[in-house]
């Protein structure tokens, strides 16, 4: 049922000093070796100059880190005090899509604002059977003529959409990306020709669809990368990714370098999404909080959390103006947050199992949530009561 990993102590001859000792696995330049404990200690102190010891380096690193964290103590909700509070929202489920025989893992909207692709074991609407058990990522091409999906098969495949009943869709599949571990997220860039993928092997990669060539790879995460989002900026060159190492990193697509990194979450980051202006992004994590990070100020500016929320957030998305943040949680609910004030606007029930994915439609008229209870629900706003008195809601 649950995986238990053990640190196995192997007895044998050390790769460095060749003495018979108890060995520990050690990684040097991404190659695994077995060192005895003395050699491991020695390796840790390699590369030190005079007057430096491991402890002094560590304290210096901490000092610089503290200096960085000390600047600017403003938080968003302090500045937003004077903004008018939002009214009370009533959101109703307008469509319930049942068609999956299994848990819904991921979904994406088409640019025409009406179609959705979702994945679990079977791709919705164009039933394509994938040869692996979990399809964890799917994306619609901007033109609406193709979809990409992938999961535990370590690959990302692109399927051109066709309505010809005689065509076997699986036959036209094109395998684009190859990773060494599961595929956790994928997304088309501005055109049908390029795909950005994130994988459990700790890397993200940019691929050319036509040839399957790897255009750029992005290394830097210390653990599985779980999510990514492209920046809606004018120059269109960056994207953000979040991973199991609790870090959210911003990358330059052209050079493959990490431009900024944010590490204030206390657990795996399940989902990241850019604010509509492109100057900030929100992240949802297993520590039951969502946080807003500003790219220009280079720090976290808001936390969205409540004591009564004890389950992790699995996916987040902004409304069109960026005033509302929708977050789906593993306790089967969706919480709607006021981005500026940091307070919760409403909580939506309806799913019978954890909410695994959530996206606002491209024109912002509704949002769709997919869940492990095999359904997708599209919800729109029915009423908005204006505020007449203050409600004590967190």
């Amino acid at each position: 049922m649950c995986d238990q990993t053990f640190l196995v102590n192997v007895f044998g001859s050390c790769d460095k000093c060749f003495k018979q000792r108890a060995l520990r696995p050690v990684f040097k330049k991404s190659q695994q070796l077995s060192y005895c404990s003395t050699c491991a200690e020695i390796m840790a102190t390699e590369g030190l100059h005079e007057n430096e010891t491991l402890a002094s380096l560590k304290s210096e690193a901490e000092k610089v880190q503290k200096k960085k964290a000390k600047r600017h103590c403003f938080v968003l909700h302090q500045v937003a005090e004077r903004v008018e509070a939002l009214g009370q929202f009533v959101m109703k489920t307008r469509r319930t899509l049942k068609g999956h025989g299994n848990k819904v893992l991921c979904m994406d909207w088409c640019k025409d604002k009406r179609r959705i692709v979702s994945s679990s074991q079977v791709c919705h609407e164009h039933a394509v059977t994938m040869p692996c058990t979990w399809v964890m990522a799917c994306a619609y091409a901007p033109s609406g003529c193709a979809i990409a999906c992938g999961g535990l098969d370590n690959k990302c495949s692109v399927y051109p959409l066709t309505f010809d009943k005689n065509e076997n869709m699986a036959a036209k599949k094109k395998s684009v990306a190859m990773h060494t571990n599961y595929l956790s997220a994928c997304s088309f860039t501005n055109s049908d020709m390029q795909i950005l993928t994130a994988s459990g092997d700790g890397t993200c990669a940019l691929w050319d669809v036509e040839s399957g060539q790897l255009l750029q790879s992005f290394h830097g995460h210390g653990a599985d990368v779980l999510c990514l989002d492209l920046a809606p900026s004018e120059t269109g060159n960056t994207f953000v990714s979040g991973g199991c190492d609790k870090k959210a990193m911003v990358w330059d697509m052209r050079s493959g370098q990490c431009v900024q990194a944010f590490e204030t979450h206390e657990s795996d980051i399940n989902s990241v999404r850019y604010y509509p202006s492109g100057d900030a992004f929100a992240s949802g994590s297993d520590d039951a909080t969502c946080r807003l990070y500003d790219l220009r100020a280079d720090r976290e500016v808001a936390i969205y959390s409540k004591e009564s929320i004890i389950f992790g957030a699995s996916s987040v998305d902004f409304s069109l103006s960026g005033r509302l943040l929708f977050a789906g949680y593993n306790d089967y609910t969706i919480n709607v947050w006021d981005v500026l004030k940091g307070s919760r606007v409403s909580i939506l029930f309806g799913h019978e199992n954890r909410v695994s994915t959530l996206r606002v439609s491209p024109d912002g008229t509704a949002f769709c949530s997919g869940s492990w209870d095999h359904t997708l629900r599209v919800r729109g706003m029915v009423f908005c009561f204006p505020v007449c008195e203050r409600r004590e809601d967190g």
Partner: protein
């Protein structure tokens, strides 16, 4: 979750506990469903519905179990008695619930209640019997011993232990149609086992120091300015956000009326007022909207600088195009825009032009980036503001109408058949606005 449960059991501030009467026996330390809901609602300042949901989740994970109807794990907000599960059985201990234990439990049930196992339990029992046949004597013996030991306890205790066990197994071996709360997604490598920093060596610290120094040196904006920017952004876009301010004529998902989508189609002859307003927010908004871009192209045509926009579009195509086409595209762009004496020569400053021409010897998809950025900034700082002040734009703004809100139908249950919209995959690919001719007022390119 434990935090919540532990605070619930706190004798002073926790849920009020009483001794409950269950048939004839008295069970101490039991709580009613309604007490639980009320306490949760009060402590976390949430609504009743949410407190009920939270309580239900706790019950489903086996932290609270019902005394009267232990077969279904639901929270009922009434007088039904509940009790807190002993930490021994908490799901977070992550014991692998062994087959042997389950077999013993089922055997006990079998013996005690004289064969009143529920269907799925009977199936499991048979399956286990086949699987661990060799240890079956052990199982039966253990079951009998446990039952005999239990008989020596008070009836109240016996009942409690039986309920505890039953709840534990309901959580760990759920009946066929119930959701399994213990299911996790596919395994992830946790940060504890991260490969990259196996030993905190000197290398690691050096990299950290360098990274933080670089971060300190990076130009950053004061957070007060950034935060103000959010306020103004949200304020500006608020009326344009359908989820915040509603949309006219009506939200198509709510009223099943496609009018909103028809009016806001990508290429439409008469854009709505909101849409035209959006073009004034930022240059990016204008370019992203096909109708907006077409109008801007018209305007540039009047100023004889239409080749700027065409050049920018060609560069975009290069950046996001297929890898195989990069060399041909680069050549085409050079012929049309950059070669001296070209048909649509773009005006770039000499330094950028030199660098670009250098780079053309080894064409890659980002070779025109500098030139593209230069032209983009030119358009943004120069042509765009003039466009916004121009008569053309003002005319568009005045012409654009605000759609009327559809009256709510008197009989809301008039069922409109929902037709599925044509998939973009079926439409013939639209002709891209070519560099040679601009589109005249959105003349509907099919």
């Amino acid at each position: 979750m434990e935090r919540v449960v532990v605070s619930m059991q706190d004798p002073d501030q926790g849920v009020k506990m009483r001794s409950q009467r269950l048939l004839v026996t008295v069970i101490p330390h039991a709580v009613t469903g309604s007490d639980v809901v009320q306490w949760l609602a009060q402590k976390f300042c949430v609504s009743e519905e949410e407190a009920l949901h939270l309580g239900a989740v706790l019950v489903q994970h086996g932290y609270i179990y019902p005394l009267r109807d232990p077969r279904s794990l639901m929270l009922r907000p009434d007088e039904t008695p509940y009790r807190f599960q002993t930490p021994y059985f908490w799901t977070s201990t992550l014991w692998p619930a062994a087959e042997l234990d389950y077999a013993i439990y089922l055997a006990k049930k079998n013996i005690r209640k004289r064969g009143t196992l529920v269907d799925y339990e009977k199936d499991c029992y048979d399956r286990l019997h086949k699987k661990i046949n060799h240890a079956w004597d052990l199982v039966l013996m253990q079951a009998r011993e446990q039952l005999r030991a239990a008989k020596q306890r008070r009836k109240g205790d016996r009942l409690v232990i039986a309920c505890q066990e039953q709840t534990y197994w309901l959580v760990n071996r759920p009946p066929p149609r119930a959701p399994n709360v213990l299911e996790q997604g596919p395994g992830r490598g946790s940060c504890a086992a991260s490969r990259v920093l196996m030993t905190k060596s000197a290398d690691f610290y050096k990299r950290e120091i360098e990274y933080f120094r670089k971060a300190l040196g990076r130009t950053r904006v004061k957070s007060s300015i950034c935060l103000e920017a959010y306020l103004s952004f949200c304020g500006q876009r608020g009326p344009h956000d359908p989820l915040v301010s509603g949309c006219l004529p009506s939200n198509p998902w709510i009223s099943d009326d496609d009018a909103y989508w028809v009016m806001n189609a990508p290429t439409v002859a008469a854009p709505t007022k909101l849409r035209v307003e959006r073009w004034g927010f930022s240059f990016r908004e204008l370019l992203e909207d096909p109708v907006g871009r077409a109008h801007f192209m018209d305007f540039l045509g009047k100023e004889f600088s239409g080749e700027n926009l065409s050049f920018w579009e060609a560069c975009e195509e290069l950046r996001y195009g297929a890898q195989a086409q990069v060399p041909t595209l680069v050549d085409a762009v050079y012929e049309q825009f950059l070669a001296p004496g070209a048909a649509r020569w773009v005006n770039i400053d000499s330094r950028t032009m030199e660098q670009t021409l250098e780079g053309l010897h080894q064409p890659h998809r980002y070779v025109l980036d500098d030139a593209q950025l230069h032209i983009y900034m030119l358009m943004k700082k120069d042509s765009y503001p003039r466009f916004l002040k121009s008569d053309m734009y003002k005319g568009l703004l005045a012409e654009a109408g605000i759609p009327l809100e559809t009256k709510r139908r008197v009989f809301p249950f008039m069922w409109r058949p929902r037709h599925s919209s044509p998939s973009p995959a079926l439409l013939p690919t639209p002709v891209e606005p070519t560099a040679a001719c601009g589109l005249g007022g959105g003349d509907g390119v099919a």
